[in-house]
């Protein structure tokens, strides 16, 4: 997205929106991680204590999901950048005179 036509007040407002979104995204990441590891690891309801097996599973699941999230975020960033460059190139080609 091209912000160059936006004024400072607009940019400051959008910056604030992005920060709020990041806090909300982290929260969703956290609650989503808990739900995922709970669902995948906890299946014994004969007691309200976590079994050793469940606890080990939850810790591995957490560790793995953090690494998963890092890797996929990286890839997502790269692919998104590529896409934006492609779109910019296509837009430039469609400008009058850009294509001899």
């Amino acid at each position: 997205m091209d912000f160059s036509t936006f004024n400072d007040a607009e940019r400051a407002h959008i910056q604030r929106l992005i920060e709020q979104k990041q806090m909300r995204d982290f929260m969703k990441f956290y609650t989503g991680l808990v739900e995922r590891c709970f669902n995948d690891c906890v299946n014994d309801f004969t007691s309200k204590a976590l079994t050793t097996k469940e606890e080990t599973c939850v810790l591995r699941c957490t560790e793995k999901f953090i690494k998963y999230n890092e890797r996929i975020s990286l890839r997502f960033g790269e692919l998104n950048q590529e896409l934006m460059q492609q779109q910019a190139a296509t837009a430039a080609q469609q400008q009058p005179g850009a294509n001899p």
């Binding site: 906890v42 309200k48 939850v58 957490t62």
Partner: protein, 83 residues
């Protein structure tokens, strides 16, 4: 929605409001996930009757407690990673 506050003298600190909103959203989101997860774990979908039987009731109580424990473990693990 500043038009709500036309007559008030006190100013609202948007950061305070945002913090409270965030906290509220976190609690609601966690509650919703517990509701969905424990339903799947504890309630069979044949619906032979409309009551919660003893087994289901005990399962719900344990499920909620275990979800909180997983929440705690995950929180501690995340805090440790970010040190």
């Amino acid at each position: 929605m500043s038009y709500l506050y036309g007559g008030q003298q006190q100013t609202i600190n948007p950061q305070n409001v945002a913090m409270a909103e965030q906290e509220l959203e976190m609690v609601t989101d966690t509650f919703q996930r517990i509701v969905d997860s424990c339903y799947k774990k504890c309630i069979p979908t044949q619906y032979l009757d409309g009551e919660l039987n003893k087994g289901e009731s005990v399962c719900i109580d344990r499920c909620a407690a275990k979800f909180f424990k997983v929440n705690e473990k995950v929180g501690a693990a995340l805090a440790q990673k970010s040190q």
